[in-house]
């Protein structure tokens, strides 16, 4: 579970979030109001008099949020917010003639970046789900990406290692690809230059390399140390962010390296921080404040929980939540990697749950394209059918 230090940090941030706007408003008057608006929506304090500058900060905030969510570059958010506040301090007027200037200021009640993060991430998720529903956009979005992302490559390698996949189904680790990404993320998020690119974070890549025997001995030592230090027992995926699939892979890798504590702590995280609530599990956990939010897309939920179920870290409750999504994926086929992964993960699940109809339907699609899906499919084939299933 999250440490007390996370709780303390949350309290401090909350207090600061409440205090800072008040300080700005009462300390700087009308200018302070403009400055304070930027704490909620960066750029909002500049829209009235410097619309384009304000919009630039707002758009910049969206970009910074994306960079933060994807690569852990949290400093970008602080920079944009800080920059917008300073810009308002410099350019916002001392007062207005229009009656609108006298509108009351409503202080933010929560950590101010998070509503925007939730807003942006929610908007991105909504747009993604919209493209899945509108026929033309669905066709455009269903095209396979030309290159496999480094993160997905790492995951595929890791799962293939978990599966003990035969040579023809194994995914050879592209260490250079993984290292390149790790260096870029390290530089963008934490200004890390030189040295071992895998010294911190990068849970998926380190899990893959560890299980493939490609981590140096001191690399493995740092992996274990990083996990011990971490709040949830596994390193972050990107600086600050714990993602459940990568965390699961890291826990499996550490467990197989003899570090059972990671598995124990991760199992607890799957019950609490990433617990199943109303059919969903949190999509990410930000370690500095110990806050989780969002929900995993169906494929990630299926893959994460399939692996966890195979390790015995969770029960069968997720299958009820995943079943419809898995069947829907089987109907859509394997044209899209997300569906292919969902199908393959569901096949892992079906080694443990007695669902004859789903087994029949999910046996039909041919999993042969996405490396992560193929590795999962091999894994499913290698798992003996659970005794409760064979008893039917």
């Amino acid at each position: 579970m999250a440490s007390r230090s996370s709780t303390r940090r949350r309290v401090v941030v909350l207090a600061a979030s409440l205090a800072l706007p008040a300080l700005l408003v009462f300390g700087f008057g009308h200018r302070g109001q403009h400055m304070a608006r930027n704490l909620l929506v960066p750029g909002a304090g500049l829209w009235e008099e410097h619309l384009w500058v304000g919009l630039a900060f707002t758009v910049g905030m969206v970009a910074a949020t994306v960079a933060w969510v994807r690569w852990g570059a949290d400093w970008t958010v602080a920079a944009v917010v800080g920059g917008a506040v300073v810009a308002s301090a410099l350019w916002a007027p001392g007062g207005h003639d229009a009656p609108a200037a006298a509108s009351p200021f409503t202080p933010a009640r929560a950590a101010h970046e998070f509503p925007l993060v939730v807003l942006v991430v929610g908007a991105l998720s909504w747009m993604r789900s919209l493209t899945a529903r509108v026929p033309l956009l669905r066709r455009l979005g269903a095209r396979r990406p030309r290159r496999v992302r480094a993160v997905d490559h790492a995951r595929a390698v890791a799962v293939a290692q978990v599966a003990g996949a035969a040579e023809e189904a194994a995914v050879p680790a592209d260490v250079a690809l993984l290292a390149r990404r790790a260096r870029r993320v390290g530089l963008a998020a934490r200004f890390r230059v030189g040295g071992d690119p895998f010294r911190r974070d990068h849970a998926a890549a380190r899990a893959a390399l560890a299980m493939a025997g490609l981590l140096e001995p001191d690399g493995l030592t740092r992996f274990v140390a990083d996990a011990d230090r971490a709040a949830l027992g596994v390193p972050c995926s990107e600086p600050g962010w714990v993602r459940p699939l990568d965390g699961t892979l890291a826990a499996i890798a550490l467990s197989r390296a003899g570090h059972e504590l990671a598995a124990t702590r991760w199992k607890a995280a799957l019950a609490h921080e990433f617990g199943l609530r109303k059919g969903c599990r949190a999509g990410w956990w930000w370690s500095p404040l110990g806050l989780g939010a969002g929900s995993m897309p169906p494929w990630e939920h299926a893959v994460t929980t399939a692996l966890a179920r195979a390790e015995g870290w969770i029960g069968d409750d997720d299958w009820a939540a995943l079943r419809a999504a898995a069947l829907g994926a089987s109907a859509r086929g394997t044209a899209h990697p997300d569906d292919e992964r969902t199908i393959a993960a569901a096949r892992v699940w079906l080694r443990f749950v007695d669902d004859e109809q789903a087994a029949r339907l999910l046996a039909r699609p041919t999993v042969a394209h996405d490396p992560l899906a193929v590795a999962l499919d091999c894994y499913a084939s290698s798992i003996p059918v659970h005794e409760e299933v064979t008893a039917r």
């Binding site: 069947l327 829907g328 109907a331 109809q357 039909r364 041919t366």
Partner: protein, 632 residues
């Protein structure tokens, strides 16, 4: 000889249900005309424009001095007509008409008062043209009745030929192609032709239907004693019907035509899917004896959101029957609002076949009404049946799918199983003059060779030009009038002209998948055709059984004439000539009996076990025509 069913001597213009639907449509149109006329007579300028558009769509725009909007109205109406037919957009024409009324009301402009009488003249001409077209066609057909009845009473057509054929090289190529197509993974559709899935020559469901229909007579006529390869192929063709890409179209049609978002493709309408595939199911069971689709949930459709619609052979047929019973017209729709005689005949075949296989009475409960609908609502005076009728308006016209929009017989069995007397009448009418015509063609056959080529014509999907459908018609026609020499010669000539030498996923004949399957159906429907199979049901084979592994070996012939020996034809499968010997597995032999496998340089002794089984190792490096004979 039983007297042939004659045509009604005093035919009615419309059946009772059609009359009701047409009169209802007329009443609605009359109401619209009256409402329009009231507005024209009593309204102001804007109301007059709107009223005139009610009298004749878009005429109000003429009154308002906007002829371009009148033209635009009729362009949109034409599009609405196409969409009405194409995707059951029944609201299209009323919507455009209504918009022309509203638009005429709103648009300003000069008042062309001459448009007032013109609007009424146009309305009268339109109605008159419709009535004239219908009445003229009716009278033209009615005038032929005495002559046609005379013909029906006296014509003595030759019996069709039903030879027991030996499969030739092209039969083997077609069979191999069909197996490779069907036995690929269930979610793969390599070799099928894809296009829009609503109508026409590119819909995959019809390709699956036709292939299933074609393999059924091959199983019965050529390899009844070796079902091990053809059964999974036919089974897979049924399973592929449950692939979302094949039936997804229905959700759109149901939404547009019935305003219902239910994607279930069986529960309502859609007889082009439920009836056709139901018939395919029957023939699969009748040809192979398999009951795999009788198991609950064996045919499950899964929608994109994971919802499942579970069916099996029984519940599927129950749904078809319920639709028949619910239908006001007696024939239920393919696309919402459109009922086809062909599709409802195939739907009837599906119910009939299920009854024969399972001892139920599904067909019995709808047969009488089906026949009444056919003879009263669809039959024309000259013995043709209308292809289509709107279940909303009662109207029917030539949609271009069949020549003239009518036919003497329909379904895939030409009524032979559902209504033999109607089948006989239709057969006589459709073959009128054919023996003489084909007799002239038969005279061109020299030593079994027909030295001619047919012109190539566009396929329905306009993807290519081909002569195969023309050859198919000649083969079918020749067999239908007993000219087997012509049929055989035409088959060879067609193979010669249209063979490509290609293998799956390409095609061995230069034709699309659907037409190639129909060619296979005609080619292989002798001596037993699918109508006879539907009536007969499953009959276990007699004599020795044989099996061999696919794709190493292709079994092209396995039948027993005497219940003791076995005629056998094998050749290399797609994996090429076997380097090593392949295993032929025999069953249903006389326990501990002695046999010899001979032919084409092969002489192998086969000793049956106490259970009546045996194996023989054989190098199948070329086509082999063999016989398994009992050693005395």
């Amino acid at each position: 000889m039983t007297a042939t069913l004659l045509l009604p001597t005093a035919p009615r213009r419309m059946g009772p249900v059609t009359r009701f639907l047409v009169l209802r449509t007329v009443a609605v149109v009359l109401l619209v005309e009256v409402a329009g006329s009231v507005l024209v007579a009593a309204g102001g300028a804007d109301a007059r424009a709107a009223g005139l558009s009610l009298v004749f769509p878009g005429a109000g725009f003429l009154y308002a001095g906007h002829p371009e909007l009148f033209v635009a109205t009729w362009v949109l109406l034409s599009l609405a007509l196409v969409l009405w037919w194409g995707i059951s957009a029944h609201f299209g024409i009323p919507l455009v008409w209504g918009l022309s009324v509203l638009g005429a009301w709103l648009v300003g402009g000069p008042r062309w008062h001459w448009a007032l009488p013109v609007g009424y003249v146009l309305a009268a001409v339109a109605v008159g043209a419709l009535v004239w077209t219908f009445e003229a066609r009716f009278r033209r057909k009615r005038a032929k009745v005495p002559m046609l009845n005379e013909y029906l009473a006296t014509a003595d057509l030759p019996e069709p030929s039903r030879p027991l054929r030996e499969p030739d090289d092209m039969d083997a190529e077609l069979l191999r192609w069909a197996y490779e197509l069907a036995l690929q993974p269930l979610d793969r559709f390599d070799g099928f032709e894809w296009g829009e899935q609503f109508h026409g020559g590119t819909v995959v469901r019809y390709q699956l239907n036709y292939l299933g229909w074609a393999l059924a007579p091959y199983a019965v006529n050529y390899i009844p004693n070796a079902l091990g390869q053809i059964e999974p192929a036919m089974r897979n063709l049924v399973h592929k019907q449950t692939d979302l890409r094949v039936w997804r179209y229905w959700r759109t049609l149901n939404l547009v035509g019935n305003f219902a978002a239910d994607p279930d493709p069986i529960v309502r309408d859609n007889i082009m899917f439920s009836g056709f595939t139901g018939d395919q199911l029957n023939l699969y069971e009748a040809a192979t004896g398999s009951t795999v689709f009788d198991q609950p949930g064996s045919l499950t459709f899964v929608w994109e959101d994971g919802r499942t619609f579970e069916y099996d052979h029984h519940s599927w047929m129950q749904a078809v029957r319920r639709n028949f019973e619910r239908s006001r017209l007696g024939f239920f729709p393919c696309e919402p609002g459109w009922s086809f005689a062909a599709c409802n005949t195939i739907g009837g075949q599906a119910l009939y076949g299920h009854d024969r296989l399972h001892g139920t009475d599904l067909w019995g409960s709808v047969a009488e009404r089906w026949r009444t609908t056919l003879e009263q609502e669809y039959l024309m005076p000259d013995g043709n049946y209308a292809n289509i009728r709107s279940t909303h308006t009662g109207l029917s016209w030539d949609t271009g799918e069949t020549p003239g929009g009518e036919y003497f017989t329909t379904g895939t069995h030409s009524f032979k199983d559902l209504a033999p007397d109607i089948a006989e009448r239709g057969r006589k009418l459709s073959l009128r003059g054919v023996p003489e015509k084909l007799g002239k063609l038969a005279a061109l056959v020299r030593d079994g060779d027909l030295a001619m080529e047919l012109p190539v014509e566009w396929e329905r999907n306009r993807a290519r030009k081909t002569a195969v459908p023309g050859w198919t018609k000649i083969i079918a026609g020749a067999r239908a009038v007993g000219l087997e020499d012509l049929a055989a010669a035409a088959q060879r000539a067609g193979d010669r002209q249209c063979a490509t030498g290609q293998v799956w996923p390409e095609r061995p004949l230069d034709v699309g998948v659907a037409n190639m399957a129909l060619h296979m159906l005609v080619r292989w429907s002798t001596p037993v055709d699918n109508a006879m199979l539907n009536v007969r049901g499953w009959v276990p084979p007699v004599g020795p059984l044989v099996d061999a592994d696919w794709p190493a070996v292709l079994i092209t012939l396995a039948r027993s004439a005497d219940g003791r020996s076995l005629d056998l034809g094998v050749r290399p499968g797609p994996s090429g000539p076997a380097v090593d010997a392949v295993e032929l597995r025999f069953a249903s032999l006389t326990p501990s009996g002695h046999y010899r496998l001979i032919g084409d340089g092969v002489a192998v002794d086969v000793a049956a076990s106490a259970e009546g089984t045996a194996t023989a190792a054989l190098a199948v490096d070329r086509p082999l025509r063999l016989a398994l004979e009992v050693v005395a």
